[in-house]
C-alpha cells in the first residue's frame, strides 16, 4: 500500500477570507506507472467534488492546467505523478500544489488570467501580410520557416510569465515572457510587413526591458520552449535595427 499526501491550496471566496492549505490523501496499491498528476487530482475530486482546477485536453496542448507543484510551475496533465512524488518522498512526503503565482485567485487553483491575456494582445500578435494578392501562397523557404521553431508552439498556459519576478513586481506594465515570445514570433516571420513598427512599439523601458534575464521562464516552460532566449534575441534586434 502506498498513501500519497497532497497539500493543496484552497480558497472559496464565499467562505475564506484568505487561502488555506488542505491535506488530501490518496491510497494506491502501488505507484501507477502511467499516471499523470491530473489523474491523481481527478481522483481527489471524486473524494471532494468542491476542489476546483482547470483542465481540458489532457495532453499538454490546450494550456488550461498550469499550477505550481512543489515550487515549480507545470501542467498537471503532462507531469508524471511519480516525478512529483519522488521529489518529496524522502523529505516530508507531501506533494504541494498552489495556483500559478502572481495572478489574482478566483477559487482554489483557478487564477484570473485577464491581465496575462491583455499583455498578449498588447504586442499585437497577428500576422500583417502584404496587401493585395490573396490568390497565392506567400512563399517562405524552409530556412525562413525554421526561424519560427520554438516560438509558434506556445500554448499560453502562463507557466513562464507567472514564474517571472519581473512580472510579479510590475504585472501591469511588464508584458512578461509569454507575450514577448509571441512578439518575437511575429518579428521573426518573413511574411510579416510590420517588423519595424513592432520593434519600435516594443522599445519600452517597462514592456520589454524590465526583463532582467533571470530565466525562470525557460526553466518553467512545460513545452521546453526558451522564452528567455527569445527575449534576448528580440532585444538584440531592437539594438541593431
Amino acid at each position: 500500500m502506498l498513501t500519497l499526501r497532497f497539500s493543496i491550496q484552497r480558497y472559496l471566496p464565499e467562505q475564506d477570507r484568505i487561502p488555506r492549505m488542505q491535506l488530501y490523501e490518496l491510497a494506491l496499491a502501488q505507484m501507477p506507472r502511467d499516471w499523470m498528476l491530473l489523474d491523481a487530482l481527478e481522483h481527489l475530486r471524486q473524494q471532494d467534488p468542491t476542489l476546483a482546477f482547470r483542465s481540458s485536453c489532457k495532453e499538454g496542448v490546450c494550456g488550461s492546467d498550469g499550477m505550481n507543484v512543489n515550487g515549480k510551475n507545470r501542467l498537471s496533465c503532462i507531469t508524471r505523478l511519480s516525478t512529483v512524488w519522488d521529489e518529496v518522498k524522502d523529505k516530508d512526503g507531501i506533494i504541494k500544489i498552489h495556483p500559478l503565482p502572481g495572478l489574482p485567485i478566483i477559487r482554489d487553483l483557478v487564477v484570473d488570467m485577464n491581465q496575462f491575456f491583455q499583455h498578449y494582445a498588447a504586442v499585437q500578435p497577428w500576422l500583417i501580410p502584404p496587401a493585395g494578392d490573396r490568390d497565392h501562397e506567400l512563399l517562405q523557404t524552409p530556412t525562413q520557416r525554421a526561424e519560427l521553431e520554438g516560438l509558434y508552439e506556445c500554448i499560453l498556459c502562463a507557466c513562464c510569465t507567472t514564474s517571472c519576478p519581473a512580472f510579479w513586481w510590475n504585472p501591469d506594465k511588464f508584458h512578461g515572457p509569454a507575450a514577448l515570445l509571441a512578439a518575437q514570433r511575429f518579428v521573426s516571420d518573413s511574411r510579416d510587413q510590420h517588423t519595424q513598427t513592432r520593434l519600435q512599439a516594443l522599445d519600452d523601458a517597462y514592456g520589454t526591458f524590465r526583463c532582467r534575464n533571470i530565466q525562470n521562464c525557460t526553466a518553467n516552460c512545460p513545452k521546453g520552449l526558451d522564452p528567455s532566449g527569445a527575449i534576448r534575441a528580440l532585444k538584440r534586434k531592437m539594438l541593431t535595427e
Partner: protein, 594 residues
C-alpha cells in the same frame, strides 16, 4: 428568476476553428457579434489537431479538387451529400491560402510552398495512386490554425464571453429561437443573450466513450440543446474510431505517422494491413484500419502481455525526419508511454475520435429539421458549423484532414449567409417576450445541493456512461449489444435523476458544469443507440456484426433522430442522400475497396 440581458446581431457558441472563422468574417463586416466559449478560445479542442488540412493545392504531386471530391464520397461510404462535398473540395485551396495569409506557420517545401503529406483514403485520378493532399504545420496543424484565427480575431476586436457555458436555446412567445442562456463560470451568474441569429459551433462529443481522443469539454452541448429545442440530429450512429490511439490511454497518434511511412504490425511482427487493404494498406480509410486492428487483437494476434494492442512502427524512418515532421507525436509517446518512437514501436488501439453525425444543415450552415408535415425545413436564423454540424460532408466515415477543412469552409460559408440575411431583414422594433420556463427548470435542477442523498458525482457518472457506450456502441455492434445498451441507459438515467450536487459555491462550480454536461452526453447516448439499432446494415464506421454488408437498397439515407418522452421510445425519420453534386456528374455508389 432575474437575468441580465444582452443584445447582439449574431451570437456564436464555440471558439474552435469553426466558430472563430465565422466570427472573424462577422467582426470584419461590423456585425455586432459575441462569441461564447466554455474555455479561453485557444483551449478549444481544435488546438489538438495534429496531421493537417486537405486541399488539392498540388504542391507535391499534381492534384485536382475533383479527385478530392471522389475520395471524400468514397470515404463517406456514399452517405455524404455530394453537393456539400463538391462545395467543400472546391473551396479548399482558397480557404487554405487564406489561412496561410492569416499567419498559419505551415511547414514548407524547398520551393517555399505549403508542405503537403499523404493521408488515408486519398488518391490521384479517382483511386489510382496515393495522393499528398494534407497541408501541415509539422504535426501541430490544429494549434497553428486555432492560434492564428484567434490572433486575427484579436485584430478584428471580436467580443468574447470567455468561460461562459451555454445552457439552452430560448424561444420567444412566437415560437422562434431568439436567445441563449449562458452561465458565467467565474461568478455563477446566468445571462440571457438575445440575438437576431445564433450559430452553434460547439465541436465534438467523443467524451461519450471511455477511450477517446477528445478534451473533457467535448460533451456535445450544442447537439443536446438542439434536441431539447425539439429539433433533429442526423446520422448519430456514425462515430469514428481512430485506428491509432495510444493503447490504454486513447490519446491520438496522428495518421500523419502512417502518412510519413509508419507501419502497423501484429505480435508476429507481420505488417497485417495487406490482408485488409491490399493497395492502400496503412492508408486505407479509418474505419477499415480500425476494424483491422480490432480483428487482429480479437483473433489473438495482439501485442504485449495482455495482447490488447498492435504496434505502430516508425523505427525504419530517418530520425531527423521524425523530429522535423512528427515532433509532437514524439513528445506524446515519450510523455505518456516512455517510448522514443525513433527506437521503439508505439502500442496502439482504436479510440473514439470524431462524430460524423450532428445538427443537420444545408451548405450555408442553416439548421434543417422536419416540419409537422414531415418535410425538410430550414430555420433561417439558426446556424450550426464545425464538428457539431452534419452538412453532411463526411457521411459514414470522415477522411483524415477533412474536418479542419470542413470547419473553416463552412464557418466562412455560414458567416457569409448570415451577413447576407441580416442585411435583408428589418430590425424588430420590439422583442417578443421569451419563454424562459423550460430553461429555468433546468437551472433550478442543478442549483440545489444535498451531499447526503447522492450516490456518485457527475464525474463518476460520466465514467459509467462512457463504459456503457463503449461496450454497447463501439467498433462492432449487434442487436444484442445495442439492446443491452438501451437497458443500461434506462437504469443509468434513473441514477442521473437521483444525482445531487455537493458543491454549494457559485464561483467556478465545476460540479454544476459537469452536471449540465452529463445531461447532454446522456441525450446523445440515446440518440446514438437508437439510431444505431435501427440501421440494419454496415456502412463506414457503423459496423453491425449481424448485418455485415452495406445495403444501398434500403439504407442509402440519412437518419433523423428526435428526442421524445419517454426517452427510450425514439422518434426516427429518414431523408434521402443528395447524390447530385452542384456542377459535376454524380459519383454513384459502388463497392468500396482500398
Amino acid at each position: 428568476m432575474e437575468f441580465e440581458t444582452y443584445h447582439f446581431d449574431a451570437v456564436i457558441v464555440g471558439s474552435g476553428g469553426a466558430g472563430l472563422r465565422a466570427a472573424l468574417m462577422l467582426s470584419e463586416k461590423g456585425i455586432r457579434t459575441a462569441v461564447v466559449s466554455k474555455v479561453f478560445p485557444t483551449r478549444s479542442h481544435t488546438v489538438a489537431a495534429q496531421g493537417g488540412i486537405n486541399a488539392a493545392l498540388g504542391n507535391i504531386l499534381p492534384d485536382n479538387w475533383l479527385w478530392h471530391m471522389y475520395d471524400t464520397i468514397k470515404g463517406s461510404d456514399y452517405l455524404g451529400d455530394q453537393d456539400a462535398i463538391e462545395y467543400m473540395c472546391r473551396e479548399a485551396p482558397d480557404v487554405v491560402r487564406e489561412l496561410e495569409h492569416f499567419g498559419v506557420p505551415f511547414s514548407r517545401t524547398e520551393s517555399g510552398k505549403i508542405y503537403q503529406r499523404p493521408f488515408g483514403g486519398q488518391s490521384l485520378n479517382f483511386g489510382q495512386r496515393q495522393a499528398a493532399r494534407t497541408c501541415a504545420a509539422a504535426d501541430r496543424t490544429g494549434h497553428a490554425i486555432l492560434h492564428s484565427l484567434y490572433q486575427q480575431n484579436l485584430r478584428a476586436q471580436t467580443t468574447f464571453f470567455v468561460e461562459h457555458q451555454a445552457i439552452d436555446l430560448i424561444r420567444d412567445e412566437r415560437g422562434d429561437i431568439a436567445a441563449l442562456m449562458v452561465l458565467d463560470i467565474a461568478t455563477g451568474e446566468y445571462k440571457v443573450l438575445r440575438s437576431r441569429a445564433i450559430m452553434l459551433a460547439t465541436g465534438g462529443a467523443a467524451q461519450l466513450f471511455r477511450t477517446n481522443t477528445n478534451a473533457r469539454i467535448n460533451t456535445g452541448d450544442g447537439l443536446a440543446m438542439i434536441l431539447r429545442a425539439g429539433l433533429a440530429l442526423q446520422d448519430m450512429e456514425f462515430w469514428q474510431f481512430h485506428p491509432t490511439g495510444l493503447s490504454g490511454k486513447g490519446i491520438l497518434i496522428s495518421e500523419a505517422a502512417r502518412g510519413e511511412g509508419g507501419v502497423l504490425r501484429n505480435a508476429a511482427g507481420e505488417a497485417f494491413m495487406k490482408h485488409y487493404a491490399p493497395h492502400a494498406r496503412e492508408l486505407a480509410s479509418r474505419d477499415v484500419v480500425a476494424r483491422a486492428i480490432a480483428i487482429e487483437v480479437q483473433e489473438g494476434r495482439g501485442c504485449g502481455v495482455n495482447q490488447d494492442h498492435v504496434w505502430l512502427d516508425l523505427t525504419h524512418l530517418d530520425s531527423a525526419l521524425i523530429k522535423q515532421r512528427l515532433p509532437a507525436i514524439r513528445e506524446i509517446a515519450l510523455t505518456f508511454a516512455g517510448i522514443d518512437i525513433c527506437q521503439e514501436p508505439i502500442p496502439v488501439y482504436p479510440t473514439a475520435h470524431y462524430m460524423m453525425g450532428g445538427i443537420p444543415t444545408n451548405i450555408h450552415g442553416q439548421v434543417k429539421t422536419l416540419n409537422d408535415q414531415g418535410e425538410v425545413e430550414v430555420l433561417p436564423n439558426l446556424f450550426a458549423v464545425g464538428e457539431c454540424a452534419c452538412v453532411s460532408v463526411h457521411g459514414a466515415n470522415r477522411l483524415g484532414g477533412n474536418s479542419l477543412l470542413d470547419i473553416v469552409v463552412f464557418g466562412r460559408a455560414a458567416a457569409r449567409q448570415l451577413i447576407e440575411q441580416l442585411s435583408h431583414q428589418p430590425l424588430d422594433y420590439f422583442d417578443a417576450p421569451l419563454d424562459l420556463q423550460p430553461v429555468e427548470r433546468r437551472i433550478q435542477r442543478w442549483q440545489a445541493c444535498d451531499a447526503s442523498s447522492s450516490d456518485g458525482t457527475p464525474a463518476s457518472l460520466r465514467q459509467r456512461l462512457q463504459t456503457i457506450m463503449e461496450t454497447g456502441c463501439g467498433v462492432f455492434r449487434t442487436e444484442d449489444t445495442l439492446n443491452k445498451c438501451i437497458d443500461d441507459l434506462t437504469e443509468f438515467s434513473a441514477q442521473v435523476d437521483k444525482l445531487m450536487l455537493q458543491d454549494r459555491s457559485e464561483v467556478f462550480n465545476l460540479e454544476r458544469l459537469e452536471a449540465f454536461e452529463l445531461e447532454n452526453l446522456l441525450a446523445l447516448a440515446w440518440a446514438t443507440v437508437h439510431s444505431a439499432r435501427s440501421r440494419q446494415e454496415s456502412r463506414g464506421a457503423h459496423y453491425r456484426l449481424d448485418y455485415s454488408s452495406r445495403d444501398d437498397d434500403n439504407w442509402l439515407k440519412h437518419t433523423l433522430y428526435f428526442q421524445s418522452q419517454p426517452v427510450n421510445t425514439p422518434r426516427l425519420a429518414y431523408v434521402p442522400v443528395t447524390l447530385q453534386p452542384l456542377t459535376v456528374p454524380s459519383f454513384p455508389p459502388k463497392k468500396r475497396v482500398y
